[in-house]
Symmetry: D2
Subunit: 359 residues, 4 copies
């Protein structure tokens, strides 16, 4: 019920952490587009844990196989199936936790919903599910880049109390973002953020953060009025990611404190189109893109699984102490960067296809 | 493309400001439920402008007619069509603005999208479109209340720089909310907020605000993992409302600054279910309700249409001064309260229907 | 759940026989298309009963009102709401039948499904529901005609045992069809069919029939492989009409008796495209239009409501004799002609929109 | 766009004949249901060509792998991914045909639609795509059987001019059907049909046929009025199968020749429900199941690929002779039997899920 996203550029993901594999079927990819597994692997590699000293040390190679929908390096216009095998199909570290629902984790709610859950607990709510999204979104962003010149760049703009200074949204790119393991292009903030994560890890704790994202070169006219406004679909996409608690576009919550005379973005001529001198709107007016950069922020809570002892109760309500075994990511935001980018690409690709219909 | 919302409890809205009427078709309402136009009118009356000195003084009676789907005061299980006639079908005050796109309004983007737009400019992006949603959501919340005891209450928690103090989410109700025209149940803040709106109006300006909402008595297990998480659908619903810029659930953006050891909500036995001692999760874990109150906040920007002169350009890029005629709402949040409630009800009703399927 | 049809050119209908009205919301109509109520009324008038001596004598004026989505005679690209008021909202003739489910009617199954049904029994399964479809389809066929030159013509090709002789599918048009009340362009067969209907009426009985339909000037490439093949969507559309029992395209059931060497349609050059010398395929290959005329036939059973006495049982299982009061249509196929055409237009319009996305 | 089917029990298929594999993602399978690959393999084995002397002699092992959604032999309620590897990924026999579109095949229309097609031509329109459907439908029918006692049985009721005599729809079962390679439970007709297929093969020709299907023990109340009537969804499902040209339910086209007084099915008490003495309705009234057996017939045209020489033209319109190489199935209906059954199961399972929501 919940494993499909998009209307025309549409994905259906599958897979838990300890089954044979995770993957996705992507329907609606235009035909005759060059595409190989390498195009997809780039973003999968960026989301992989262990790519830097800040993540977990689990080694997940996560090589994607394209199962269908291409021939001789070109898309056929038919569904593209993709599969990433799980390395370890036997749940191990999780077994001893099964009688105690992890606080702020999906264990308890999964049991309430299904009356059963995967031995790893997180099941479809685990970060591993995002592999399918990232693989699909990598195709979407290739399409958007090559066909429309659209650029999507995300970065870490907050970890715990530390925020990045202003980033130039017109020039920020992925190379700059990837210069630090923390994926924050503000070097001073990056240092503080990294230290915060190391401190959280050493305390067997975890810490939350914020990912910012900008989309440049969107044509004006994308986004459907009423229910499928561009910002509504982006919010849907972002809040569908594990561990997210908030979304804001343009001025966001700060905009709620402002007067209209300040917040309104005056129009000005920019080449052959109208642009705006400020961009509190975040590139969206009335739910539809106006040609200015679309930018937004997504809040991620600290991961629920921590090494510290936590007083809680078991499923029967008896007092219990939970202490997670194994290695766990103390902060998800560096890895969330490519996930945010690819989910954004899926939203934009879908809206572009729908707008093409209007001819 | 964008005028339907929900999967099983599904609505399709129609109508602009100056056509014969606005309305909605609601599909998926269970049969044999008592329902009359009066049940729907309650929330329509609460959303109507001019209900208090803070809103516009336009008089919109907005009486709803149920066109189908009920007989002898009972639902038939078939689509419920509802219609609210527009009083004034001739665009008047808007005509003179048609050569100049209003800054931060939908004029420019509608033209980019459709190559045409309604003479009132806002078209489907205008607040009047929300009548259909509110009418539909009033049915949804009646169903949720009577069948499941679910209570949904929204209130104004911010206007400009003024925020309400903590509200008791376990006891807040609509009667308390409606005691002030501003719909803020904190009397001190209500006073400051009202003064802020009056000041904005006198300055021919507008001001933004925040609406908070809580849902109580949700059964555990609602929300579909992955793309249709409860928080993702709520975010989609809220960001689909005109003038919204942000959404946060539970700890929200503040949660991004916290450590896991603080943010995790320990379980505790509550009667025959497990509950939590804190509720940073906002009633949702892994995208699925856990039985605790679900609460969230939505940010509204200041309305774009203001009486002040605004320097901008016309569609051809020539410098121009825009000065809106007519009376315009300086702040939308008091009226947004029932809209937030009813959109929430639509999300919950849909998820309940889907969960019923699992038997 | 069942009241929407189409993906991008999408309709949602509402209304029973004795509620205030029936209607439809049409989403996805392209902007800037000339459209008035008169354009829609044409097909509504053709479907109206009592337009000829063969139908019932009930007088249903059925004037459509366009509620939204147009301004100054042009579509806005937004949802088009349409409403037809019901004349008689008080169920009359049907009351006495309510304890006995009419054989082969929807009374029994509606009660099983909903635990309640409209006093007229048929509820959403009645022919009156088709008003919304016809109104929506009239817009679709106007779009197809003006934008693509697509022509859709249906006619009665069978009533009881009487079949029409071959009709020239390249030239048949609505004027020819409407020359007889029976809407069969073969004058000899028309005479026999009309006599059959009169005979059935005099016997207080009813009779079935077949409607044929052809679509000309479809571009090659319409229809989605796999589940949304052109013929699959047409079959879905036709079998969704009340009283239908069968659908066949091209060679149909006769094709099942043939050898491939005969059934295969050889290609031949036709201007700047390839065409075929025969058309057993019915204009569709692999689910996708090939540019040849698409033609198909739909079987309608005899109406269930007849004046003759019928031995049956009541809801409690007690023996009963049912004798319908009032006037009832002895044969639906003449009126079904515009319904078949407009449903076909809805299918084609949706597929055209989808194909436009491929660019 | 076309690779998904169903609303709540929903499948998305992928794969062409010569890519790495074909498969499906099944969303909406209830949790806690016993399921292994063997349960799925049963129907895959029945659809496999070469299972008898009538089919092609290609050896396709077609072992299915369940990739996700189960653990320890139980469904988790999450999407079930399934994969069948293609043995031969290099197109061979088809290469020489690529300049000439095969008459009545998908070659020409695919090129018109996509501007590219898989080297095997058929692409997604080929029979191999049905593997995903059958795998998914095998799960659906297991669910229906175990949870509701629903039985679905299909058989070959026509090959060329030969039709089976009446089959007892209350007792026919798969064991009886599989007693003959032709899958016709009427031994006399089976003999004639087999001879017809052998004759067609020897003539390097092909022949069409008809598959009948019955569903027993359906509860009354399934099927959504208006667009998603039970018969409309079945027609959609059947006409979405390769090579189908017609569908009829209950009395079908014969019903169009009948009088209502004969066609109406009188009610009678059957245990604690009402049943009917005849079943011209085919178990469906007003689009909703009435508790009687649902039965329908699907017409399959002769396969387009034949060994005989066919005069036609190439893509440029030049005269050409086409002579297919390789071995091709002279008649698809024996293999279509499990495909019809599993597609039927998918339709019923989806409608059951929807009806469960009504509570």
């Amino acid at each position: 019920m919940s494993s499909s996203f998009g209307r025309f550029f549409r994905i259906s993901t599958f897979g838990e952490s300890h089954c044979p594999g995770v993957g996705v079927v992507v329907d609606g990819v235009p035909p005759r587009m060059p595409l190989t597994a390498d195009d997809v692997q780039i973003q999968l590699d960026r989301r992989r844990p262990g790519g830097n000293k800040l993540g977990t040390e689990r080694n997940e190679a996560d090589r994607v196989e394209i199962l269908s929908g291409t021939e001789n390096g070109l898309t056929l216009g038919t569904p593209i199936g993709m599969l990433v095998r799980n390395k370890d199909q036997r749940p191990g570290d999780y077994g001893s936790m099964s009688a105690i629902p992890r606080p702020s984790h999906a264990d308890y709610t999964y049991r309430a919903k299904y009356g059963i859950h995967a031995s790893s607990g997180g099941g479809r709510s685990s970060a591993r599910e995002t592999i399918g999204r990232v693989a699909a979104g990598a195709i979407a962003e290739k399409f958007l880049k090559e066909e429309y010149g659209i650029e999507i760049v995300a970065w870490v703009s907050g970890v715990g109390p530390h925020l990045s200074a202003d980033i130039d949204m017109l020039t920020i790119n992925r190379e700059l973002v990837d210069e630090t393991a923390i994926r924050c292009p503000d070097p001073v903030a990056a240092e503080l953020m990294s230290a915060e994560i190391v401190a959280a890890r050493e305390a067997q704790d975890s810490v939350g953060g914020v990912v910012s994202c900008v989309c440049r070169n969107l044509p004006a006219g994308l986004g459907e009025p009423v229910f499928d406004r561009l910002e509504a679909l982006l919010a849907h996409a972002m809040l569908s990611l594990p561990a997210t608690k908030g979304f804001e576009i343009g001025s966001g919550f700060a905009g709620a404190t402002m007067r209209g005379s300040v917040h309104n973005d005056p129009f000005v001529k920019k080449g052959d189109r109208l642009g705006t001198t400020t961009n509190f709107s975040g590139g969206v007016q009335g739910g539809i893109s106006n040609g200015e950069p679309v930018y937004f922020r997504t809040a991620f809570k600290p991961p629920a699984t921590i090494g510290q002892e936590q007083p809680t109760v078991d499923y029967d309500g008896n007092d219990a102490i939970l202490k997670a075994k194994g290695r766990h990511d103390p902060c998800v935001v560096p890895r969330a960067v490519p996930i945010v980018e690819t989910m954004t690409a899926l939203v934009i690709a879908d809206l572009i296809m729908i707008q093409r219909m209007r001819g």
